[in-house]
Amino acid sequence: MSLATFKKPVDAVIATLTVTVMVALVGCVVWQVFSRYVLSEPSTITDELARYAMIWVGLLGAAYTVGLQQHLAIDLITDAMGARDRAAMGVLINAVVVAFALLVITRGGLGLIDKSLASGQLSPAMRIPMGYVYFVLPISGVVMSYYCALFCIGHLIDLCRPDRHRVAGLASSAEHYETVAAQAAATGPATLDEQEERR
């Protein structure tokens, strides 16, 4: 069984979610303009709603991007290495990211949620508990760790079996986008128009 089997379902869920929220975000801000000019009754919650939705898109998208290994990095050293050393570095780097995602993003996020919910802090306009907004932190942290753990395993396998390159196929490829997009299209909203109509 290939590692990608474990990765694809997570990819599909996050991709669908972020694409949906992104479309909703555009709709939200367009609605803000529309309500001000056409309805002359400026919307009073779109501003806050859009800001919180962006936190979600940004951090979930960041987790997804970890899965594509597309966060900016300097590959100077690893590029100069042989296959074995590169795999070893891959284990190290991914382990470092797992540690950060679990200890800081997930644990820090949970601590933050805990404190926010305990103090009953509400958002200024919509009056929703601020703790709910922060829920994206542990979700994103766990997904990041999951991806990096998969990469770690892939690199370890590469270390033991240099003839097979699992990690190369796991992360980014044009084909990958296509499959995820197809899944997103099948399960999620297909078009801007449909989204607008549903709202």
């Binding site: 009754e41 009073t44 306009a125 009056r127």
Partner: protein
């Protein structure tokens, strides 16, 4: 006295009256404690928004945070009373309530949540300013007024006949200039300092709200201080309150002059019409538990001449 350094965060710019009062407080604290107590001030929202800083204080990363009543409303509903328009008939009444026993009770209300307020600061009256005079609620009809995202303020503007439009503070200048909004509301020093007076020439003194600012402290920080340190801090805070009130009056007066020099006009307003327009807000407010009683006590305090004046 043991040496201690307290971290204070605020989102005001360094010229702001309260920011200056905090610097005054830092000096006082050094003096009163013979150089053993220090304030390290992080101004300008360096540490984040007021909401964020309050969270950081609950976590123990900051010791004191400056917050307006509107910010604190997110933590305890009792602070929402200050957002009611025309709550105080005069600034004297404001001081009686805020610096009296009711104020003290409100300031202690969030103690269970990890922090409470140890100082209160005056902020004058907030009024409308726009490119045309607003003398009656009818003048406000259909005007887009920039507001902070606060449900009470939004409701208030709607009741008065305007269209409340939440816009980020940093974008208000261009929004006024380009006509995204027709007006905004704030006190006179802010009207001048933001240079909004250049764009919205008519400052219509309907004086709808007078919302106090507070200095909050982490309960854990407070408990960590010795009795002597607590007393010294309390004294320095009290001094900064007095300093701020004096400075406020002076700056407010200067700001009025400056506004006029910038070409602004101050418009007298029929406040009764506005007061009448917002009455439904009071009815709605009273329906929440405990609110009617709090309002009653505030009204009593205002009528009571024997209360100490801050």
């Amino acid at each position: 006295v043991d040496s201690v350094t307290l971290r204070v965060g605020h989102a005001l710019n360094e010229d702001h009256v309260v920011a200056r009062s905090y610097r005054h407080m830092a000096d006082e604290l050094e003096q009163l404690s013979d150089g053993s107590m220090h304030l390290r001030i992080f101004p300008n929202g360096q540490m984040g928004s007021t909401q964020d800083m309050l969270g950081q204080m609950q976590n123990g990363a900051l010791d004191l945070v400056h917050a307006s009543a509107s910010n604190l409303e997110s933590f305890d509903d009792i602070y929402s009373v200050f957002n009611l328009p025309y709550l105080f008939p005069s600034q004297a009444d404001f001081k009686k309530v805020v610096f009296g026993p009711i104020g003290e009770e409100i300031m202690q209300s969030t103690r269970e949540k990890g922090f409470f307020a140890i100082g209160a600061y005056v902020a004058g009256y907030r009024s409308f300013y726009a490119s045309k005079p607003i003398r009656t609620p009818a003048d406000l009809e259909g005007m887009k007024i920039r507001v902070q995202s606060s449900p009470t303020t939004i409701r208030m503007i709607k009741l008065m006949g305007g269209s409340p439009t939440p816009i980020a503070f940093s974008e208000v200048y261009s929004a006024l200039q380009q006509g995204v909004v027709d007006g905004a509301e704030n006190n006179v020093p802010s009207y001048v300092q933001t240079r909004h007076a250049e764009l919205a020439r008519y400052f219509s003194e309907d004086q709808h709200t007078s919302v106090p600012d507070f200095l909050t402290i982490a309960t854990s920080t407070w408990n960590r201080l010795s009795d002597e340190q607590q007393q010294i801090l309390q004294k320095a805070v009290a001094d900064s309150e007095a300093y701020q009130q004096k400075l406020w009056d002076k700056v407010n007066q200067q700001a009025r002059e400056q506004a006029k020099e910038m070409g602004a006009q101050f418009i007298e307003v029929d406040k009764d019409a506005f007061r009448k327009a917002v009455q439904p807000l009071y009815e709605e407010y009273r329906q929440q538990s405990g609110h009617a009683e709090l309002l009653e006590r505030i009204r009593d305090a205002e009528q009571d001449d024997d209360q100490p004046q801050g």
